[in-house]
Symmetry: C3
Subunit: 319 residues, 3 copies
């Protein structure tokens, strides 16, 4: 940090004494923080086993993108000559990153639940197995993504090309991250899937829980403010717009424990369109095939197939 | 990646055999992915010409910011002595970055449309020309931005100073990125404008299509969830709040092709205020001068000038 | 930038002449930009004293996170052996970073208001004092954060563990950044608090002004689109969902100056729940204890305690 101190000196040549006086109080602060941690008045993870790393998860997402859409997001161009070398190296690096983070996640859960009977080796072996399974599902996810991209193009007059969609549409990013995270979630990997989807949420404003089941040709347009809950089921060829919530009904207080794992979010059947700001709530709510839900509509009951649901426009007052 | 492997070893000394067994399956995965690409079940860009780079576009945006607001966002301070050197160097670097990315965008479009008759030289020359034109419009955009900043300050009691607005207001960031992207869009540069505005969308939650025409003294307050469509026209001195949509009416299925290029989004005349969550839809919808659109209002028809539009408040139920 | 030029050459061997012709026009652009700055048609900060740095603020936020949740976000793992060394070093570095940015902020304000009578030394000394005070409040903020995390877990059936919440919930991030920024705001540090909360806004879509007063066990679920204004007061054990606005009533034009500093945003008492998309406006509006505000409700008047407020559902039209 020499640079910083130098800048301080530039800014103000004097005051070395004041600086020292203040700095001398830092050890007390450090002790107070550590004491707090020891008395459980702070959340900490001070332990000998390493914990999943947010930075590593970000790198995992970047590497997955390079593999899912070859040539679009690699720093070096990909051509027919270097394709196999570049792809091979990326898959290899990704495998190691993924296995390590899965292992850390499993390990952390072991300790948390006092499963210290599980040898470290078990977590490691399971992590290798799971990382391999996720990578083996990449070609299938690529196939689905080609359909998602085509669906995004078909319904959006502002889209100029598939490439523009792949490069810049936040909906596509949120969807593929969710498809990978969903696979990890199926394998019961803790932490990692949610860290991945929340990373996508941060970049796109689209909040999809990795538990959600999502069909092919899924489109999210604009996307900011979309929330899709853990037990949502979405069929094929569904299109939703910004600010759509597929959520749970209001909860009794401290509902956390009672409802954990129950179906709380709606089911959206094939070929449904849901316009901006619509809210659809409840685990028993089913939106039937080919129905269209208008903007800002608030739905807590099932809608039959082939129905168009609009809100009676509230009277406007002109002054 | 030596570090990672080492960490794996730290975590779990054993299991070299399991690690090897699993890793040996990676080449099959690589082959499956490559085979998928060859059979067009994935989107890829495997070609000898380079493709636009998202990272370069991010750097372009950072450099534009350093030029548009001199001294605010440069790593080294800018003073009267080094101003010309620093500005000259930033403009020079930005010119090269911009020309290269424009060239790649044009080149990519040439290949996509089979325009291989166009010599590489044409794209290169056009790119130089276009990069220069965009940079030449910087002083005019700076003038407009001083008005945007002043307008943001005038209407926001929480703003403490112009500097706070320049440093931290997401609306200002989204607006200037859009003004630059709009200029690139006018020059018919593909990809780049949309990648730029989607980068701003990611950072701000404000989604402005680079095609939108926007007047002076434009203010977006808070901003998350704002959507402004491709063919929107906005006059001078307009102020909008978070969650406002200036969008298209609901589309017939597969409307993408039919409506591409048509006016689909509203026109907002001078001195209009649009409060949070209002939705204004349709290419024929005109909001007349000095009108005020209340929060959450849903409008699909034109509003005359000097009108205040509110939604009749829905009855509240108290329990 | 040798690399870039090389790439240009790869792309297109010819055209050195055209490149040169275009580049020779850059100095005119530089001169035009500088001239604009001199004529005050651009916002610039060309001065001998350094200005706060957005990058440094980002680093400050990262370091605070490492201290507030020890072991979760550090690159190296934290264990009982290295805890004190690692924590000590992070606090020490953070202190220097923070003091420097506070000093720059104060200094900048001095110049802006022509307070050049204040010796540089005063800003420096005040900055040391303020940085120390903020760090001294860390253990108290950690205690509050343990309650916030527990409250997030209690009410969210999708949360799998406290660790998942700490790692990935955007609400937790936005809240702790705001708690730190609020402390800086209490000390009347300019710029810095707002740059911090706007950084969190960018990453989470949650826009909390550092002036807002927020009680313990505060939960923001999903969070995208939440806006909490400067003079909002929030009691203990309050839970809000995505898209909730706690804002000001519509403003007369140029209200900026008149209303600066006045109470313009609502008061939310203890144990209130506010569901997604609700809007509560006005400085005199008080939501009484234990009340529940339904989704999308629009409130501009006070609500008594123990009240459940719903919007009469608008009639749905089925076609």
């Amino acid at each position: 940090m020499g640079g910083h101190i130098e800048q301080n000196e530039n800014l103000c040549q004097s005051d070395a004494a004041s600086y020292l006086t203040h700095r001398e109080k830092l050890p007390d602060i450090v002790d107070a923080i550590i004491q707090g941690c020891e008395q459980h008045t702070c959340h900490h993870h001070i332990a000998f086993e390493p914990i999943p790393s947010k930075e590593a998860v970000t790198e995992i997402i970047d590497r997955f993108r390079a593999i899912l859409f070859p040539g679009y997001f690699t720093r070096e161009k990909l051509d027919p000559v270097n394709l196999k070398y570049s792809m091979g190296q990326t898959v290899s690096v990704l495998y190691d990153l993924l296995a390590e983070q899965i292992c850390r996640s499993l390990r952390h859960d072991c300790f948390r639940y006092g499963r210290e009977d599980l040898a470290c080796r078990d977590c490691q072996g399971m992590a290798h197995e799971m990382a391999l399974k996720v990578l083996q599902s990449v070609p299938a996810i690529q196939q689905v993504m080609t359909k998602d991209v085509a669906a995004a193009y078909d319904g959006d007059p502002a889209a100029k090309s598939y490439d523009e969609i792949i490069f810049s549409y936040p909906g596509i990013f949120a969807i593929w991250v969710c498809r990978i995270a969903h696979r990890l979630n199926e394998l019961a990997v803790p932490f990692l899937p949610r860290i991945m989807t929340e990373h996508a949420h941060s970049l796109t404003g689209i909040d999809i829980h990795p538990g959600a089941k999502i069909g092919e040709r899924f489109v999210i347009d604009h996307g900011t403010g979309v929330v899709i809950g853990e037990t949502t089921e979405i069929g094929h060829n569904v299109r939703i717009y910004q600010g759509v919530t597929l959520g749970a009904l209001s909860l009794p207080k401290n509902a956390g424990e009672q409802l954990r794992g129950k179906k709380r979010h709606p089911t959206i059947e094939d070929d449904v369109i849901i316009y901006a700001g619509a809210t659809i709530l409840g685990g028993d709510t089913v939106i039937g095939r080919r129905s269209v839900i208008g903007g800002n509509v608030w739905i807590t009951e099932s809608i039959p197939p082939d129905t168009k649901v609009l809100t009676e426009a509230p009277k406007l007052i002109y002054r």
